[in-house]
């Protein structure tokens, strides 16, 4: 039985085409992936991201514990700040990639992938059970208590303060929601309840992500669609979410990341703080940072007219099948086939000619610097 978010009937009313994603029944599109994608690049879009998981970690040992299980340095977070980070196994393989927010001294909110809620929570509980100061640690899977939306696009800042008026009441203290800077999070009153708002997203555009109760999120969805209408807002599905994040080369768990792939190989080594002291996976990751990796996640563009590249298509270079596409699509912004895939390091340099095998036919492509799409 697929799970449904608080916005399920809203999606039905809006004519969303529903598909299975990570155990959830979610809208893949409402009208057209291309139209929704371009709305986010040029104006604004709103996404239901209620399927994402939320875990809270608190207690006197919370900071030390999170620094032990996550790759980025959590001590850099003061109340109201968030960071992208990863959770690895001992081999450096990725359990999940996530956002960690510090809500107040020693109180953290982790936003994790929908498909990874169960393995993440099991992993965190197992690591907590063997943590020396486990008695000073509280770990709660709050995924069932929260719904969430992402509001993304260059025009969002023009109307979001009308949707979430007033100053913040917790975490980062700001006079208005648009005063939040990138990666900052604040609590705001919303209707009869409150919501957490962060200036983050998964599209490469400016925007906000809003977490709250089912009632608060249903309420805020309606308000944002109404107030955003003069600015060209569109409800957007997972299809556009995927093409948007692929253009800017943000990894998606199960594609660029899995338990046998490290953040260094995936190209997100920037979020591995080797200098912070020991943490789970550090030895393996330090070895890779020092000695290099055998495979790398590269971005590529098709250079001949072809069908769009798709996940699992073979990658050829130097006359041999050297790897596999992990994400691929027709880029609505560039009107060109694009993707990411893993190749041996010798073929990873930007500008390397490669081929993508599409239904038995090898089509010319070239590796390019990340992100594939940059705002002009």
């Amino acid at each position: 039985m697929l799970k449904r978010t608080a916005l399920f009937t809203t999606h039905q009313k809006l004519g969303g085409k529903l598909i299975e994603f990570g155990g959830w029944e979610m809208p893949v599109q409402y009208t057209s992936i291309t139209d929704e994608h371009l709305a986010v690049r040029n104006a604004a879009g709103i996404f239901d991201i209620s399927h994402m998981g939320e875990v809270t970690v608190s207690g006197a040992a919370s900071t030390a514990f999170l620094n032990h299980v996550l790759t980025n340095d959590i001590r850099k977070l003061t109340p109201g700040l968030g960071q992208y980070t990863l959770m690895c196994n001992e081999r450096g393989g990725v359990i999940d990639d996530l956002y960690a927010y510090c809500l107040s001294e020693g109180v953290y909110l982790l936003i994790i992938n929908a498909s990874r809620i169960e393995p993440d929570v099991a992993w965190l509980r197992a690591r907590a059970a063997e943590f020396p100061k486990r008695d000073e640690l509280r770990l709660t899977d709050a995924s069932h208590n929260y719904a969430a939306v992402a509001v993304q696009g260059p025009r969002v800042k023009e109307f979001i303060a009308d949707c979430i008026p007033g100053d913040s009441i917790s975490a980062m203290r700001v006079a208005r929601v648009t005063d939040l800077k990138k990666n900052e999070i604040g609590g705001f009153k919303c209707g009869h309840g409150s919501v957490l708002v962060s200036r983050t997203g998964y599209t490469g555009e400016d925007g906000f992500e809003i977490v709250g109760s089912d009632e608060a999120i249903i309420h805020i969805w309606e308000i944002i669609l109404a107030k955003g209408q003069p600015f060209g807002i569109k409800p957007c599905g997972l299809g556009a979410r995927d093409t948007l994040r692929t253009e800017v080369c943000y990894p998606l768990y199960g594609h660029e990341l899995d338990e046998s792939t490290t953040p260094i190989e995936a190209g997100v080594g920037f979020f591995v703080a080797l200098d912070k002291g020991d943490f789970v996976g550090r030895a393996a990751l330090a070895e890779q940072k020092a000695n290099g990796v055998k495979k790398k996640c590269v971005a590529f563009k098709m250079t001949e007219k072809s069908a769009p590249p798709r996940p699992h298509y073979p990658i050829w270079a130097g006359g041999a099948n050297v790897g596999e596409v992990v994400s691929g699509t027709q880029s609505p912004s560039l009107n060109n086939g694009i993707g990411m895939g893993y190749v041996p390091t010798e073929f990873a340099k930007a500008g390397t000619a490669i081929e993508i095998e599409i239904r038995g036919k090898r089509c010319a492509a070239v590796t390019v610097p990340k992100p594939i799409y940059k705002k002009s």
Binding site: I33, T34, G239, A307, P308, R359
Partner: protein, 127 residues
């Protein structure tokens, strides 16, 4: 609501057939193009290829997925629509006109009788 022209025959897999003499023109229905949306690539069979009814012989790709197109009838491919390959969005804009896929010389015209009438196809797509 999808357009279902009354002068065509339809396959359950959403292709349409327009017959003129012993040659049939094949394309995909308005309902199919609407379900696919954002068509970005069309791969056509080679002229001269012999296909059987129900055989996958073309591919249409939208942003999100690739779908096989099945020939509703048996015969030999006599012509393909290069305009649709050059401008795949034509299939979205004109599924029953400029967005046709291929023409096929019928080898078993009796197969046409087993295709869906416009009314039956309309009922299938919940018309």
């Amino acid at each position: 609501m999808s357009n279902v022209p009354s002068d065509l025959k339809y396959a359950k897999s959403h292709e349409w057939v327009r017959v003129a003499g012993d040659v049939a023109t094949v394309g995909i229905s308005d309902h199919a193009q609407h379900e696919l949306t954002d068509i970005v690539f069309v791969e056509l069979p080679s002229v001269g290829r012999k296909v059987k009814a129900g055989e996958a012989c073309a591919v249409v790709e939208s942003v999100k997925t690739a779908s096989d197109i099945y020939s509703p009838v048996s015969g030999e491919i006599t012509e393909v629509n290069k305009a649709a390959a050059d401008d795949p969005a034509l299939v979205n804009r004109e599924p029953f006109a400029g967005g046709w896929f291929f023409k096929i010389k019928l080898s078993a015209p009796a197969e046409l009788n087993s295709l869906l009438t416009p009314e039956a196809y309309q009922a299938q797509i919940g018309g």
